[in-house]
């Protein structure tokens, strides 16, 4: 794909032009979330990643699916129009760009035989411009995440800070159009620019690589379903759900009705497997009744079950769950402990010729 550079002093003008076509969303000044902005000069904030990932622009915390009205003649069901508002996301970090690709798979027709029209419409109307992080935050481990490509993240256009300018790779037709909107502001990238981009990506990769065996966990977790280690690892958990609410790849949702008299709506909202009643059935049966079972569900869903289904690993190393867990549970330590346990069990099996207890 074609590569360009744009001077930092020209970015505001580029975004101003794009702002005529799109509502522009960028990290807010406090680094909390992606919000609508017209402050184009500071849209590409160099600070760390937002606390809330951009998934909420595609899978909102709460989203109406349909409205209904019951009358004498019957019930009138109206599909809530899927949001087609043209938006442009600016400054999405490579981990979150990768996470959106992973969510695309879950909400696709191919994944389960059903398309999700709300998610698809929001994605189709919202191009993404990514920005490589200047430096990692505490707890970031994207360098270990196979889904993350720091040099060429799966965004429509990918920006890398080269000091007084940005390297810009247009990775899609839409990305080409975004760059074309900056006619006169971009120049072709040189080999030195490309080398600069590669160096910056390699450096961030080096800083965020801890050697976590994310790709190996799919096989290693298989033997741990009955292990007692989950109980030990889950002991600290207070079931607040922050790890999944703020996870850029967690997508589990609930569906509920809300009615006033004969009219109302059906909405979906984020849910988490860490809540006690997530799998509780009305019969009283609960297949995931303790926190050990629930931790297993979360870790295995990301690192074993979804990889089994899709071939991709649903952790992008963004570090949000590490930084924001109120009791200091650290998914890196959890993965290391599980990996060690699996390897110990495998060694035991080799020695004794039988599966370890």
């Amino acid at each position: 794909m074609p590569d360009y550079v744009i001077g930092k002093d020209k970015v505001a003008e580029w975004l101003r032009r794009l702002g005529e076509r799109y509502a522009i969303y960028a990290p807010d000044a406090d680094g909390i979330a992606f919000v609508r902005t017209t402050d184009y000069a500071s849209a590409l904030s160099p600070s760390g990643n937002t606390r809330r990932p951009p998934k909420e622009l595609f899978l909102p915390n709460s989203q109406v699916l349909l409205t209904f009205r019951q009358g004498e003649q019957g019930v009138e069901i109206t599909q809530e129009p899927a949001s087609g508002e043209p938006r442009l996301l600016v400054g999405v970090r490579p981990c979150d760009a990768a996470a959106l690709k992973l969510l695309d798979v879950v909400f696709s027709q191919d994944y389960s035989g059903y398309d999700d029209p709300y998610y698809r419409a929001a994605r189709a109307a919202t191009p993404v411009i990514s920005l490589l992080c200047a430096e990692p935050l505490e707890g970031c481990f994207c360098g270990d995440a196979p889904a993350v490509n720091l040099a060429s993240p799966p965004a429509d256009a990918a920006l890398t800070d080269l000091g007084d300018k940005y390297f810009a790779e247009a990775s899609s037709e839409t990305g080409e159009q975004l760059v074309a909107a900056g006619d006169g502001l971009f120049a072709a990238a040189s080999d030195a620019d490309r080398a600069g981009r590669d160096k910056a990506a390699a450096e961030l990769g080096r800083l965020t690589r801890e050697g976590l065996p994310l790709a190996q966990m799919r096989e290693r977790l298989r033997g741990l379903h009955e292990s007692g280690i989950w109980r030990d690892l889950a002991q600290k958990c207070v079931r607040c759900g922050v790890c999944s609410y703020l996870c850029p790849t967690c997508h589990c949702f609930d569906i509920q009705d809300e009615a006033f008299g004969s009219a109302g709506c059906r909405y979906r909202c984020w849910d988490t497997c860490q809540f006690t009643d997530f799998a509780l059935m009305s019969s009283g049966e609960n297949p995931r009744r303790d926190s050990a079972e629930r931790l297993k569900q979360r870790l295995c869903h990301k690192l074993e079950y979804l990889p089994d289904r899709t071939g991709m690993i649903y952790c992008v190393g963004c570090g949000r769950c590490v930084r924001l867990c109120p009791v200091g549970m650290d998914i890196r330590e959890t993965i290391e402990a599980l990996s060690a346990e699996a390897q110990a069990a495998a060694t035991q099996e080799e020695v004794s010729g039988a599966p370890a207890e």
Binding site: L65, L66, F68, Q70, G74, V75, I77, Q79, V106, F107, Y111, S112, G113, Y114, D115, D116, P117, Y118, H225, E226, H251, C252, F253, D254, I255, Q256, D257, E258, A259, S262, G264, R266, R268, D271, C273, F278, A279, L280, M281, S282, S283, E285, P287, Q297, C300, H301, E304, Y305, L306, D308, R309
Partner: protein, 278 residues
């Protein structure tokens, strides 16, 4: 109107009849309001649908009617949570929403030429009933059909009128039991797994389909293994908490398998491989 592009939108349907099965279980006969919906809803035994009570919510229920009898759907349910409680208040004529059918259903085509042994407990007969009536409506395709069914008490037996019809047929065998009889019950007393071991069905050329309370299924599986049934010969239909029904909301998985799209029907070998707890 049907909304083929949006799987979250239910189609309006009217409750045509409510039958009281037991003190806590009712069967709802339902028909789509729209003829296109009625024609477009093509299902297999063992599939399920999401029923909406507007303003209360949605819940998944196995379809207990058979596709070999056209024009209506039937759902049987215990009064348990919010949606079932709201449905139990209905007397007929009310409007609900339906979307589906969902799930894999029973492999009734693969069963052709085989002997079938259905083992049910309590409301677990509901999904089996769809397959039983389907096989009876296509009787020539199937070998021996045997049904072992039990409930806590005579009053808790579901589909009583149908049980009587089945008992009168000479092309199937029906064995009933109740955990504890009342003054009028002259049939067997005892648990379903115990009856299975008394009857000692032969595994030869048989597919067995079981559904019931988890404790019954666990003991039936143990018993069938003792009788020489292989894991592949044993089919069951799983229940997990569900919301979307279409493999998106991430809640109903047993290991890597989503019960809503990959299940709810599994054989025991598949369940063991998934690490599923029964």
């Amino acid at each position: 109107m049907p909304q083929p592009n949006n799987p979250y939108i239910p189609s309006p349907a009217r409750i045509e009849e409510v039958r009281v099965e037991t003190p806590d279980t009712k069967t709802f006969k339902v028909a789509f309001c729209d003829d296109d919906c009625r024609a477009g809803f093509s299902y297999r035994p063992g599939q399920f649908a999401e029923l909406s009570v507007f303003g209360i919510g949605e819940a998944p229920f196995s379809i207990t009617s058979t596709p070999s009898r056209d024009g209506f759907l039937e759902f049987s349910m215990k009064r348990m949570g919010r949606v079932t409680s709201a449905l139990h208040e209905m007397i007929g004529g009310e409007l609900i929403g339906i979307r589906g059918p969902y799930g894999n259903g029973f492999p009734v085509e693969d069963w052709k030429g085989k002997n079938l042994l259905f083992i049910g407990g309590g409301i677990g007969l509901a999904p089996l009933r769809s397959a039983i009536n389907y096989c009876l409506d296509n009787r020539a395709h199937y070998g021996d059909v045997e049904i072992i069914y039990g409930a806590r008490s005579p009053a808790d037996l579901v589909f009583k009128a149908e049980l009587e019809q089945w008992a009168r047929r000479d092309d199937l065998r029906l064995d009933l039991t109740v955990d504890r009889g009342d003054g009028e019950w002259t049939g067997r007393e005892g648990f379903v797994p115990t009856l299975v071991m008394e009857l000692r069905p032969s595994p030869e050329g048989v597919t067995t389909i079981t559904c019931g309370p988890p404790i019954m299924i666990r003991l039936v599986l143990q018993g069938l293994a003792q009788l020489g049934f292989s894991d592949e010969q044993i089919v069951t239909t799983m229940e997990m908490r569900m919301k979307c029904g279409i493999g998106k909301c991430g809640r109903c998985n047993i290991g890597r398998s989503y019960v809503c799209v990959d299940g709810p029907v599994y054989n025991y070998a598949q369940l063991k491989q998934l690490g599923g707890e029964i």
